[in-house]
Symmetry: C2
């Protein structure tokens, strides 16, 4: 009987279908007994007799893979692959799949909500009102500002299309390969990142974490930004240098930020003391429908693998190359 | 020289044009010296030698009007007229104007932001994260829920058109006179209010405060709602009974609420102790551009009045009738 370790939690909490699928396929499963994001050390200890991982964002590095004597497939619940040493997995003949489309609608919708919260000071007013302080905050509307989008793929593209409903903001977009049809309703200016840092009122990141994007926004980039710039990261922790961001917010170098993902999670660093920083607990993809779809897709991929039927979401070669090139 | 009392604060804070217009027209002005929403008693004492009011939402009742011996025009900065005794003003030959279009885009945008915050638990996660508590909250996306809109006029219509960018939620709308072209992209079901209370996951109010809408949502209506219903009021305080809402939230009778306006402002009542209630300080129209437009339009109306040129935003007869009929 094949055995799968489900590391991502919560799992099958509202929709039991992934569990039912595993049981119907007679695959033995274990859901992460620590009920939190595992460290590489913890995973290394648990992994030795499992044939598959249905994985969250925990690190699956060379030490984990060395200890995973039976492992044949890593099925990532989600889109990001920064946590998996892809080339080491390939070397050890471990197949890696992911669910690149499922999270996109939920992440894009949260991004729009966070843009409006930051522009209007909703999060600040809510904190003050709960301290019984009444202070009317002036905000700005989407069509009145310049919005900079870094990364216009599955998620960034959806953000752009939803923005179009709010009138005609000035939109600056940066992407490795500009897709000129991403949001036909909008007049998009394709620019370099520096132009976005200098000219955007709202900057939102929709890129993967890689050697190139790690610390992509640190003090030098923040120092190019407008005094009232607002910065959003619902992509991956580590793309923004958290300590530099905290310094910038404390010194009012920029106006505010909305941060959903962190270099180390659970996060409890200096941003938690800063009211202008809207914080959420890595919830970008956490809508019931998207999360269910991600869990089901990742589970089906494991079942297909053991049945020997064709896989639907093999990680493409470009992702392996990206980790090589850095 | 004509004298105008500007009661609404802040006024001309970021855009000085209203003040410049008054000075160019040689109209003397005084900006509310108490720098807060005036009570009727306070206004009654101040008003006696002013020819005009550029008014906020403070009560302008019979006692105020009796004392306003020289008053010829009330120019409301905003859309709501519940604060003004229109028929008493007419009886005393005081003209009333307002700015019905200017606030709509800002209110609609805040509404969309609040819908997403409530659906995703952003406000809750932000409170927890600032207490260094990491708890991933499952949410729902707009296209997965049923959204009930009560009032589909200037603001409700804009909310509907912006919702269309987020996919195809089930949309229930109630309005005295259904406007079938309000959002052609959406399949709208025109229903009675009871259907909205029973079937909607998110209920958002875009009606004026009147004798009919006062306490429109109290315990009996809340008791019809789904257990996880989310309630939004960026319209006017008093439409939702605040104490009934607080009871319902404390007992988890409904899932959450976003409240921007209150029966008495500044508000410091029981909702301030409830984390599931997203609170803002009457900021619906508080975007820089909309607020400026409102202030400029209200000021221009006063200037036109004293110059004897035609007014652009006289309050229509229907508003007087609504106050008569209750």
């Amino acid at each position: 009987m094949k055995k799968v370790l489900i590391t991502t939690v919560p799992f099958a909490k509202t929709n039991k279908l992934p569990i039912e699928l595993l049981e119907a396929a007679e695959i033995e499963y274990c859901i992460n007994p620590l009920n939190k994001k595992l460290t590489a050390d913890e995973l290394q200890e648990m992994i030795f007799d499992y044939d598959a991982i249905i994985a969250g964002t925990e690190e699956i590095n060379i030490n984990v893979l060395k200890n995973a004597k039976r492992l044949k497939i890593i099925s990532r619940v989600g889109i990001g692959l920064d946590s998996v040493d892809l080339n080491e997995a390939k070397f050890r003949d471990v197949t890696v799949t992911y669910t690149p489309d499922a999270p996109a609608p939920a992440v894009a919708e949260l991004t729009i909500g966070n843009i409006i919260s930051l522009l209007r000071g909703t999060h600040l007013s809510n904190l003050k009102m709960h301290e019984r302080k009444w202070e009317r905050i002036f905000g700005r509307r989407i069509p009145e500002v310049t919005i900079g989008v870094i990364g216009a793929g599955r998620i960034g593209g959806r953000v752009l299309r939803r923005l179009a409903a709010f009138g005609s903001p000035r939109i600056l977009v940066n992407d490795l390969s500009p897709n000129l049809n991403v949001a036909p309703q909008l007049k998009i200016e394709w620019v370099d990142k520096e132009t976005i840092f200098k000219e955007a009122d709202v900057i939102t990141l929709h890129v993967p974490l890689s050697r190139t994007t790690k610390n992509m926004i640190s003090a030098p980039q923040i120092n190019l930004m407008k005094r009232d710039a607002l910065l959003i990261n619902v992509a991956r922790g580590g793309i923004i240098n958290e300590n530099d961001l905290a310094d910038a917010l404390i010194s009012n170098r920029i106006g505010g930020a909305a941060i959903d993902c962190f270099e180390f999670e659970p996060y409890s660093g200096p941003l938690t003391d800063i009211d202008t920083c809207l914080l959420t607990s890595h919830m970008g993809s956490m809508s019931l429908d998207c999360r269910s779809r991600m869990e089901i897709e990742a589970t089906e991929e494991v079942i297909r693998f053991f049945k020997g039927t064709e896989l639907k979401n093999l990680v493409p070669e470009s992702e392996y190359l990206m980790q090589n090139d850095g």
